[in-house]
Symmetry: C2
Subunit: 202 residues, 2 copies
DNA sequence: TGGATAATACCTACTCTCAGGTATTTCGAA
DNA sequence: TTCGAAATACCTGAGAGTAGGTATTATCCA
């Protein structure tokens, strides 16, 4: 029987190189190529048809979540496993939404990884969720899309006026959104919101 | 000749497991143990005398920088290599200050890593600095200790009043520090400062 | 023993943000 | 089609942060 071919996309070369060795030592997998950036991979997407794609979510410029969607469009039959150093529940949800076949945190050990990858290649979906605080996760679920958009802008240090200009909104509207966000997350200032956003990887 | 023994401390098990394989395949190194948290390692420090320690800086609770100092106290003859997913120049400076023998980013590839580790074991010091913007680094150098302390408190979302209370200072004093920080970093609000602090891993 | 730097403290005027409202429109699901 | 959620917009008063000053110690280094 032939080996399962795989591709890795991860900007941490050391990690990618190590992961390749872990999969290869089983004798079941054969690596076709490693990409160290999302853009590099996108350029060649379409040329590399592998059975399995191991995609890091935190890729610097672009997100592995977007790559996942694109891979599934081009190769609907291939499996996509998202790898992440962050284990936030909302990331797992996003992974499912983007049609990934699995989510594996970088805190997983080599033997468990091998087992999970085998199961996923067998058709199972495996999403590892070790989340300790479901309350935080629920709070984040309350946020609407517009609110998430505004959180990202606040997080980057922008003031209400600047955000209003960028989104072509009234400052009043942005203020309303900010107030609603603070209320939902039970915070009391923009500073706390920014700290929260970074701490929870929003 | 006998192999060089090494210990890895990294909370990302997959990374640690992969790194172990990369070093072992050279035939020059022999792994003694992997620790997946700093506290776990500290408990056993003293029992494990290896020639080489590969320590991740970003360990969650405590910093690999502190472990480095402690290792050097207990085993002055051993080599300590700091591994980091962040390549900020001020981290490299901290690494040198903590008497590490090397600093290697996770973006390094396996073959270069092996070469560097060999050189470090031979007595060289190797600090990889791929920093692109030296201006930022210089700006951060301008900050005093007190200012750094206050940045950390601002970063966690605390207001001037709360910071003043915690440090037993007048609010005026904290305001002065904040102003000086904003001026030195060329920023104009606390929001921007927090975003800057996270972006530059302060 | 200067001189520079860091840390401390205070003041005013101005701007931005927050709490606590109200209100309209749009759009999708029941 | 009706109900509800989401997004939009406005208002006021209070509180927090910023700009641009001045000024006093303490400490370290030349």
């Amino acid at each position: 029987m032939s080996k399962i071919t795989f591709t890795i996309v991860d900007d941490h070369r050391l990690f990618a190189d190590g992961l390749a060795r872990i999969l290869q030592e089983t004798g079941l997998f054969e690596m076709l190529k490693v990409y160290n950036s999302g853009s590099e991979f996108l350029e060649e997407l379409g040329k590399v048809a592998t059975d399995l794609f191991m995609i890091d979510i935190q890729l610097g410029e672009l997100s592995g979540l977007d790559l996942c969607t694109k891979i599934k469009e081009v190769f609907p039959g291939s499996k996509v496993i998202l790898i992440s150093m962050i284990e936030a529940p909302h990331l797992i949800r996003l992974g499912m939404k983007n049609k990934a076949d699995g989510f594996i945190p970088k805190t997983t050990d080599a033997s468990i990884l091998k087992e999970m990858v085998s199961r996923i290649c067998g058709g199972e979906k495996v999403f590892v969720d070790k989340s300790s605080s479901p309350e935080d996760s629920n709070k984040i679920n309350l946020l609407t899309e517009r609110e998430m958009e505004i959180i990202h802008l606040v997080k980057s240090g922008k003031s209400t006026r600047v955000i209003a200009e960028e989104l072509f909104l009234s400052e009043f509207t942005v203020e309303t959104h900010r107030k609603n966000i603070l209320k939902k997350l039970n915070l009391s200032s923009a500073n706390e919101l920014i700290a929260y956003a970074y701490a929870n990887h929003l």
